[in-house]
């Protein structure tokens, strides 16, 4: 399913944090939102999920998302928040099971079918071993995978992730992103993801949209978007960009004055 955003504006309190933003991604694509802290990346994601009021249009698979019923939208769009509120006493399996909510009527209970989906995802995320452990007892990386698991059992064709690798070590970062990429190819999943690591963004995303002060600076493939000048201007960082066929596209920070 495609996601098309046109003229998106979001006002939180008195501040307009997103103004007239346009971007889009085709079905099965991976869109990375990059930009400095406070640029409005999270807000754009929350608008797509439908948990923040906005002006402008967001089209999901060609339908305006505004009128879509909340529950139906939850079956189309799954969300991994940046700082999920973890019920620490709940066990991993029950937590992941919450992702089945949009598929259940209000007062229904889960069926064996739901359970099977949950167990498959737990297996896939290597969480089966931890299924009975409480969220308060597992590591940050494991909890992050549980949150991803909750989003995956929603079986939504669109996956929205807000900096999903924050707090993960390199191995787990890679694991989460590779897994997302695999699923993307298996299920033709569309991924929209806010990312702070520009190298990783360049590696995984088909398309990057650079946002600053709630506006799009530029959109396109990583090699076009990530230039030394733009990174200096919008991130205030001096970097070296290595781009060669052997190691790929790397944005490496550089210490000033050297």
């Amino acid at each position: 399913m495609s996601v098309v955003i046109r003229g998106l504006s979001v006002t939180l309190g008195d501040a307009e944090v997103v103004s007239g933003l346009d971007t889009d991604i085709g079905g099965g694509g991976w869109l990375g939102l990059i930009g400095p802290n406070g640029a409005g990346k999270s807000t754009v994601l929350r608008a797509i999920v439908g948990i923040v009021d906005y002006l402008g249009t967001i089209e999901i698979a060609g339908r305006a998302s505004g009128p879509i019923d909340r529950k139906e939208r939850a079956r189309m769009v799954a969300y991994v928040p940046q700082r999920p509120q973890l019920p620490l006493l709940m066990n991993v399996r029950d937590y992941v099971m919450l992702g089945r909510t949009p598929h259940l009527s209000l007062f229904a209970s889960e069926t064996r079918h739901d359970l099977k989906i949950v167990d498959e995802v737990l297996e896939r995320l290597e969480l089966s071993r931890l299924a009975r452990r409480e969220l308060g007892e597992i590591s940050g990386g494991e909890a992050q995978r549980a949150v991803l698991g909750r989003a995956l059992v929603q079986q939504a064709p669109i996956l929205i992730m807000d900096e999903p690798t924050t707090g993960l070590d390199l191995g787990h970062q890679e694991q989460v992103l590779e897994l997302t990429d695999e699923l993307r190819h298996e299920r033709n999943l569309t991924v929209v993801c806010a990312m702070h690591d520009l190298t990783v963004a360049a590696q995984f995303c088909d398309k990057l949209t650079l946002i600053d002060h709630g506006r799009v600076v530029t959109s396109g493939p990583a090699r076009e978007v990530l230039s030394l000048e733009r990174i200096a201007k919008h991130f205030g960082a001096s970097v070296t960009i290595i781009d060669n066929p052997d190691v790929g596209f790397i944005v490496a920070p550089q210490r000033r004055g050297r």
Binding site: V49, G50, I51, K71, P81, L89, M90, D94, P102, L115
Partner: protein
């Protein structure tokens, strides 16, 4: 294959198991039986049994008790037990619900000012209506009910303007303010009329000493409806534990769920306290004990709170009317005596977890 084996017989680990419900039902039945056969009036076991069975249609059993004793069992003891069970169930379910939708382990059914409002209603009714002889129903419970609903309504209207995802916290704070305000008026009204002080205190202190079938009839619809609706929301309350925003992303309208559950919990609580007065701690002790024993899922806590809440208050009232027999100990004192130390334990635990 491995997956199939794992899932078999393991459907939703949080679901309330049959044996847990059965055990709870047995505890309730035992509580009711003990309470029915024990009391300040020393009645023979067989007599009580035949009196109870004589009320079951088509059984053809006749009470072996003299009419005076039979009416003690059926008109005084039984309504008291049933009302106690209803009030206990309602307060425990409402307490668990409030803790769930406000994400606050210390929330109790009086969080939004129901108690203060009901107290004010009762106080005003006691003062303004001097003679109750020509009322079919005492106006005190009616006024208490209205006061309780009014106070919680105020809280809801005032607390709503707290922004979409801070609504819970704002509501709790509004509740504190409204409760303080209503309590202030209540205290003022009460001090102004010292003649009726005793009657106001009697209501506020809470108790089931004047329970009757008529009172049971009045509160049953409210309590039954509230409990049924709230227990139906048990799975949704688990979803609410991820916070409003994430619950919304899962297709739940968190603020609507909160509004509906709080509405029913409040209506039921107001109906319960209108008859029983302010009985504290039930809404906290029962759900928290269950959390320690049966885990944190509301799928278990809500149905079990219903049953153990009923059993707890029936037992507490049994103590209230027998410990110092034939004198009564106020029910609020019994629940507070067990509740206050327990409350501290829960408090310590909730401080320890991050």
């Amino acid at each position: 294959m491995l997956l199939v084996r794992q899932t078999r017989g393991d459907l939703a680990s949080t679901r309330c198991r049959a044996w847990q419900l059965l055990l709870a039902l047995i505890v309730v039945a035992l509580a009711v039986c003990t309470a029915a056969f024990v009391g300040p009036a020393d009645l023979p076991f067989r007599g009580v049994l035949t009196t109870l069975l004589s009320k079951v249609p088509l059984l053809g059993v006749h009470s072996t008790l003299p009419s005076n004793d039979a009416s003690i069992v059926w008109q005084i003891r039984m309504p008291r037990i049933v009302l106690g069970g209803l009030v206990g169930a309602m307060l425990a379910v409402a307490g668990a619900t409030y803790q769930g939708v406000f994400q606050n382990p210390l929330a109790d059914p009086y969080l939004l000012g129901v108690a203060a409002g009901a107290g004010l209603g009762a106080t005003l009714a006691v003062e303004l209506v001097k003679s109750f002889a020509n009322w079919p129903v005492s106006p005190v419970p009616l006024a208490a009910f209205c006061g309780g609903v009014l106070a919680a309504g105020f809280t809801f209207v005032l607390g709503r303007s707290g922004g979409r995802y801070r609504a819970g916290a704002t509501l709790v704070l509004a509740g504190v303010a409204v409760a303080a305000f209503f309590t202030a008026i209540q205290t003022y009204a009460q001090q102004r009329q010292t003649q009726t002080l005793q009657q106001t205190y009697a209501w506020i202190l809470g108790g089931l000493s004047t329970a009757s079938w008529q009172q049971v009839q009045i509160v049953v619809p409210y309590i039954a409806l509230s409990c049924i609706v709230l227990v139906m929301y048990r799975r949704i309350l688990d979803v609410m534990s991820v916070g409003d925003e994430e619950a919304d992303s899962l297709g739940i309208r968190a603020h609507r769920v909160r509004a509906v559950t709080v509405l029913f919990a409040t209506l039921g609580t107001a109906a319960a306290v209108s008859m029983s007065g302010l009985i504290g701690f039930v809404g906290i002790i029962v759900p928290h004990t269950l959390r320690l024993i049966a885990g944190s899922s509301y799928r278990r806590i809500l149905p079990l709170s219903l049953l153990y809440g009923a059993a707890f208050l029936v037992h507490a009232d049994l103590l209230a009317r027998t410990i110092a027999s034939p004198a009564e100990i106020p029910l609020g004192v019994i629940t507070a005596f067990f509740g206050a130390p327990f409350f501290l334990i829960v408090l310590r635990q909730s401080q320890r977890s991050p």
